[in-house]
Amino acid sequence: MSSADGWFRLLLRFYPPDFRDEMGGGLLDAYHRQAEEAKKRGSMRVAAVWLAALKDSLWNGLGERIKPAVEWRRRGDWGRDMELVTRRLRQKPLFFTAVLGTLTVGLGTFAVVYTAVDKILLEPLPYRDPGGLYKVWVDVPRLNLHEGQLVAPDVYQLAKSGGPIQDAAFLNCGNAAIPANDNRDAFHINAMSASSNILDVLGARPAMGRAFRHDDGDINPAPIILSDAMWKRLGASPNVVGSPLRIGPDTHTVIGVMPPDFAFSCSISQRTDVYAALNLEHGQGNGSWLTVLRARPDASPEQVRQAVQAFGQNLAEREPDKHRGFALYAVGLLEDLVKSVRPALLALSFAAFFLLLVLTVNLASLLLARAAEREKEFAVSRALGASGPAIVHATLAEGTLLGFLGGVAGALAGIWGTRLLVALGPLDLPRRETIALDWKIALIVVVVGALLGLSAAAVPAVWSARISLSSLLSASATRGGARAGRMRRSLIAAQIALSLVLLSTGGLVVRSFERLVFTDPGFRSAGVLSLRLSTIVFTKEQDAASFLDRTTAALQAVPRRTIVSSGWWSAKGRACWRSVC
C-alpha cells in the first residue's frame, strides 16, 4: 500500500461506515486520480491535494455523520431497516394486506374494549375530587331491602355528623313537562329536586348565573338551574338567567346554567334537564331520598364507611321503632354507578388481553413463514458478512412496522367501533355519553400495536439470525428445514390453545351480558309496550283523568292490542289507576 493510499484510506474513516461501504471505492479512486494529476506538477501540488482531501473529508465526512445526504439514513439503523422493510412489503402486497387486515380487526376490537373499560371503570367522574363522593344506602335484611333510601331529616343529621363526613345532600328525580308555546310543542323533561347544597357537595359550579343558596329551597315555586342541553333546547339565550320558565302548572325562575360536561342524575339512563333546590330541614315531607355524601379530603374510604355505619347504628338505637333491623353503608359514587357492568367489563378486558396474545402468536407465525421463504437470502447475507444482530434488527424492524401500522389502522377502526358501541349499546350503559376514543387511547393502541409487532418478530428474528450457509446446506440435504417447521407447529399449537381460552372468555362475556339484558322483571314482558304521558300541566285532577280517559279510548281503537292500562300520580300525591280490558 502506497503512502497516498494509506492517507486517503485514513481520511475515509471520517465518513460513516454505511457511506464508506457504498461510496468509499469511488472516493478513493477520485482522490488517487487527483493526486496522480498533481504529481506531474510537483510535490508542493501533491501536498496541497493531500491537505485539500483532509479538509474535504473532515467537512463532508463529519457532515455526512451529522446529516446524511440520503434522507432515510438520517433516521439511523432503524431508519435504514424501515426503508428496506417498506420496500420488501411493497413487493408483497397480498401478505401486507392480510397482516394489516388481521391487525386492524384485532387491535380495533382491543381499542373499543379499552375505551369502554377506561371511560366507564377507570376515568374519574367529572366532579371536584370525585374519590371523596359516596352514595349512602339503607340495608334492611329482614325486608330483603339492600338499596333503600333515607328520609330527609336523617340526611340533614348525617351532613352534620362530623368526623370524616364533610357534607351530605339528598336528591330525587322525576318527570315534568314544558308546556307548548307559540314557538315550540310541549315536551317531557327530567327534573331533579335536591337539597340546596347539592352543587357544593359535587364541587360543581354553573357556567352561567349562580349556584343554589340555602334559602332557595324555601322559595315556591323553586328557583331552577338548567343543564347545558336544556338551555340549548330552549334556544340558548344569553339572557336566560333571571327569566321565568313554566314547568307544568308552575312558573320558575332560572338562576343558572350548568357547563356542558356536567351531568348528574338519579339513574344511569336519564339525563337531568332541570335542577331545583328543596329545603326539608323543618321536617316537611315523608319521602325517601337518594343520598350523596362528601368526605373530608383527608378521610380514607374505610373511615367514611365506618362513620356511616356508626351513624346508622346510632339512628337505630335512638329510634328503634322506626329503624328496626336498619343499617347504613356507603359506596364510592363511581363504584355504585358501574356496579352493574363491572363483571362484564372485567371479562371483556380479559378477552381483549387474550385477543392480543392470539394476534401476537398469529403474527409471529406469519413472520416465521415469511422468514423461512427468505432463508436463502439470510444465509447469503451472513456469508457476505452481515452480522447476526443486523439480521435480528431488520426482522424486528419488520414486525414493529407492521404492528405500528396495524395500531394506527386499529385506532381508526376503534373510533368507528366505539361509535357503533354507543349507538347499539343498552341505554342504561353507565357513562354512555363519555365513551369515545380520544388521542391518549389512540396513542396507547399504536404503542400496543408496535410492541405486539416487536414481540411477534422476536421468534423469527432469533431463528433467522441462526441461519448460515452451512446450516442451510445441511438442513436441505438431510432434514429439509425441520427446525422452522417445528417452530411453526409449536406456534400453531399455542395459537389454538389461546383461541380456545379466548372463545371461552367470549362465551362468558356473552352470558354475562345476556344476564344483564334479560333480567326477569317479574312479569311477561313480551308484547308489553309502555307509553309515558305527562299530566302535570293539568291543575285539576278531573282534567288529568279525562285526558287519560281520552288517550285510553284512542289506544283501545288500535288494532291487535289486548289490554290498555294507565296509572298516574294525582296532584295530591295519590296513585290512581285505570284499566280497560
Binding site: 457511506f19 461510496m23 469511488g26 472516493l27 479512486d29 477520485a30 485539500a52 463532508n60 465526512g61 432515510w72
Partner: protein, 116 residues
C-alpha cells in the same frame, strides 16, 4: 401528473446536482469524470466528498443509477453512473427554471441584453 409533481419536489437543484446531471446527460461517467467535465466547461469543480454525497442522494432519488459496464481494464473500484428518464426530466426542468431566471435578470437590468 404524479411525475410532474415529483420533478417539482426536487427543484431547485443544488449546483453540484445540476453539474452531475449535465455531465451524465452526455453519457455514462465515473465520479472523477464528472469533475473533469465541470472543469472542461470552465466551472468550479465540486469537492470530491461533496460530489459523492450528492451522488448517493441522487441514486436514492432515482434520478441517476449506477451501471455495471466499465470500459476494458478500468479500475474495478470505479463506479460508472448514468442519468435516468426521471433525471433527464429534472435536469430539463431545472434548465428551464434557470433560463427563466436569467431572462428575468436581463429584463431587470442585472445582465446585459443579448445582442440581436
Amino acid at each position: 401528473m404524479d411525475r410532474d409533481r415529483r420533478t417539482e419536489t426536487l427543484l431547485p437543484l443544488r449546483p453540484v446536482e445540476f453539474q452531475i446531471l449535465l455531465s451524465l446527460a452526455g453519457g455514462e461517467r465515473h465520479g472523477y469524470g464528472i469533475i473533469q467535465d465541470a472543469r472542461e466547461r470552465g466551472e468550479a469543480a465540486p469537492d470530491i466528498g461533496t460530489l459523492y454525497r450528492a451522488l448517493a442522494r441522487m441514486l436514492d432519488q432515482g434520478v441517476i443509477e449506477s451501471t455495471d459496464s466499465r470500459p476494458g481494464s478500468d479500475d474495478e473500484r470505479r463506479n460508472y453512473y448514468r442519468i435516468t428518464d426521471a433525471g433527464l426530466r429534472v435536469a430539463k426542468a431545472e434548465a428551464r427554471r434557470l433560463d427563466a431566471l436569467t431572462r428575468a435578470a436581463r429584463l431587470g437590468g442585472l445582465l446585459k441584453k443579448e445582442a440581436k
